[in-house]
């Protein structure tokens, strides 16, 4: 294999296993987050082009249990993307290359533990502020 082949063949045969799912979910989460980013900028800027009450009514809508749950999904997308990104930066620095699955599992453990704090807060908020808890969804 020539040096050129060694470069161009990087990735061949990677379409399997844990690394494939890490890559695919990283990409899906990234696309979701970039779409959310621009939606977020539009919603927050509504205070400027429409008025304070427009933004406040948007926040009232986002306090609905359905949106609190969607927010939790968004937090998961952020945490997965961020912690898998930490793994990628570590790989770029050559750290943990020989134990990359362990590094992945450790990063995901941090992500899941962090998510638990956000989930606890979200579910106790729904239980306390919406009579019937998730029943308020319908």
């Amino acid at each position: 294999m020539s040096p050129v082949d060694a470069t161009t063949n990087v990735g061949a045969g990677n379409w399997k296993g844990l690394g494939m799912w890490a890559w695919l979910l990283f990409r899906i989460a990234g696309i979701v987050l970039v779409v959310y980013l621009f939606a977020h900028i539009v919603v927050i800027s509504s205070a400027r082009w429409s008025g304070h009450s427009t933004l406040n009514s948007a926040f009232t809508l986002f306090d609905h249990p359905l949106f609190v749950l969607l927010d939790l999904l968004l937090v998961w997308a952020v945490l997965f993307h961020a912690l898998n990104g930490v793994r990628i930066v570590l790989m770029d620095f050559g750290l943990g290359i020989h134990r990359h699955k362990l590094v992945f599992v450790a990063c995901m453990a941090v992500a899941v533990i962090s998510l638990c704090f956000f989930a606890f807060k979200a579910f106790s908020y729904i239980a306390a502020h919406h009579a019937g808890g998730l029943g308020g969804l319908v």
């Binding site: 050129v4 082949d5 060694a6």
Partner: protein
């Protein structure tokens, strides 16, 4: 990379033709191979720098909005937060870093599947820089009533 070069067998097959859009071979072969399929060194480096800014800034942002102020978000609540220079720095750097990181990430996805020619890639980069700059100015305009108080 050096290890792979030393492992090259003597009867290596000829290198394939560089991808359409890759830089001219010769003295710039290495650059052509890498930049022909990737987004460029500065974009790569800046993606890492903004990633670190986002991890610190976004965790602060999420804890402030999703844990401390969950259920209390409003125009005035944002104003309270942006009354402190700390959150002004966090929010403005988040705006800049997230726009770059998001648009460059979207660009990397596009380059993985489409746009083989150098001209098309350059046009995409210029379009994204323009769009990102306008979005940053728009975001600052949106934040200004809170920041200027």
């Amino acid at each position: 990379m050096t290890a792979q070069v030393t492992q090259t067998p003597p009867q290596a097959p000829p290198a394939p033709a560089p991808a359409r859009g890759a830089a001219a071979p010769g003295g710039r072969m290495r650059r052509g191979v890498i930049d022909g399929s990737r987004g460029g060194m500065w974009a790569w480096l800046f993606q890492r720098v903004t990633a670190v800014v986002l991890i610190v800034g976004l965790m602060t942002h999420l804890i402030a909005t999703h844990i401390i102020n969950l259920g209390h978000l409003s125009f005035l609540n944002i104003g309270d937060r942006l009354g402190s220079p700390f959150f002004v720095i966090i929010d403005v750097s988040l705006l800049a870093a997230s726009i770059f990181h998001g648009l460059n990430g979207a660009r990397m996805v596009v380059l993985d599947y489409w746009l083989q020619s150098v001209a098309a890639r350059r046009a995409l980069a210029i379009a994204l820089w323009l769009f990102g700059s306008v979005t940053f100015v728009y975001g600052m305009w949106a934040l200004w009533p809170w920041i200027s108080k």
